[in-house]
């Protein structure tokens, strides 16, 4: 294991691994028709995490959800959640003042500090933007330590775009390139239409000195990796965040086992070479 990999291994918080702590909701916000954000206050008033890590959220069942707030703001915990199942739909109904159980943070993190001096490509598809947002905050807070910073974001339709105001803010900066595309749109949409991979040739970065961070559906990430490699980005500089059926969060139960690796413990963020078999082998 390299020093970099050691640095990226899971950072556990002071909270118990298996016992949820109750966090109170201080704010809720509807993002799109099926996606919402909750802000929570930690019982100890402090919650530390690294960009890319996730929590287990408990409310009539447990779900793994990436942390999407600013890692520098330790006074609150932020989760953006897509309501797709029983637990997430129940979470969607909660209001300010309600409490939910939290275990975490779990898992590995984005190599934000290991990428000083490099160009950064952040590529998100759909609900893949929230797990990347903490790394964007961190990179922008330390902007002078990086080369070019590019964010590529693809969604299904313009109505599915998350964090619109922040995207506009980031796009208006002179030191960040932001491209957004959707799969389909009516004729009043002035932005791009097409898959997120089509944005890669339109971006300005030095492939030989670029670290790429990807989150999205696995098919999207597979084609994105291919396109990045076609442009000359080395496989070991491509990091992806995997999503599986995570239950315990600490590598005991085996629900998220993916070949030789447990996504909850060894992931969710991997350098591409460490997980590429998942993309090429079937029945894993």
């Amino acid at each position: 294991m390299t020093a970099t990999e050691t640095d990226r291994t899971a950072v556990m918080n002071t909270f118990s691994d298996m016992m949820p702590e109750f966090f109170r909701i201080v704010r809720t916000q509807k993002n799109t028709h099926d996606t919402f954000t909750i802000e929570l206050e930690p019982p100890s008033k402090i919650f530390s995490f690294e960009p890319g890590q996730f929590n287990m959220l408990y409310h009539f069942g447990e779900v793994p959800i990436s942390i999407c707030g600013d890692p520098a703001d330790r006074g609150k915990l932020v989760h953006t959640i897509r309501a797709v199942g029983t637990v997430t739909r129940a979470l969607q109904k909660l209001k300010k003042g309600d409490a939910i159980g939290i275990r975490g943070p779990f898992g590995t993190h984005w190599p934000v500090n290991e990428s000083f001096g490099s160009d950064i490509m952040i590529i998100a598809g759909g609900i893949g933007l929230p797990p990347l947002r903490p790394s964007i905050y961190h990179i922008l807070a330390n902007r002078e330590k990086y080369g070019k910073v590019v964010l590529l974001y693809g969604t299904r339709t313009p109505e599915d775009i998350l964090y619109r105001k922040e995207l506009e803010l980031w796009r208006s900066r002179f030191d960040m390139e932001v491209h957004i595309t959707v799969d389909r749109a009516s004729s009043d949409w002035k932005g791009n239409v097409g898959v997120v991979t089509t944005l890669i040739p339109r971006s300005h970065f030095d492939p030989l000195n670029t670290v790429a961070m990807l989150v999205g559906p696995e098919i999207m990430m597979r084609f994105t990796v291919q396109e990045l490699q076609k442009r000359g980005v080395a496989a070991e500089n491509i990091y992806i965040s995997m999503e599986r059926n995570m239950k315990c969060g600490v590598g005991f139960c085996g629900h998220c086992q993916c070949g030789p690796t447990f996504i909850c413990k060894d992931g969710p963020v991997y350098p591409y070479p460490a997980i590429k078999d998942v993309f090429v082998k079937r029945e894993i």
Partner: protein
Amino acid sequence: MMETLEPLLVEHPFLKGLDQKHIQLITGCASNVRFDSGQIIFREGEEADQFYIIRQGKVALQIYTPGRGSIIIDTLTDGEVLGWSWLIPPYQWRFDAVATELTRAIALDGKCLRNKCEADHDLGYELLKRFSSIVESRLESTRIRLLDIYDSNGNG
């Protein structure tokens, strides 16, 4: 003042690496064009007598569907190529193309180029290789979108 479009064509990614004599042949079929935002470049069913090398700007490819209006199926921007219907019979556009911002492009006369490709098969082969690559990447993009990958899977 620039006298021919040759320097622009030589530098364009679509034609980069082409022989000087082929560039000259293509230049003979080229003209400089600009489209204002909202201007229709071509419409479905019209004769496809040109294609466009976009220098700067953005173009939306649209299809009209009754009841839903015009749906954008793809957007093209700087350095990309608009249109290949000029190459394939019956030489008719299959979609509408609309400039969504001020767009500067080089228009290439399809009929003129087809004749030159018939006379010079090396030129024809070079152009077909380049268009095949575009068709392949747009087909891949379309196939990925057919999967509707951002649909929720109902877990959690």
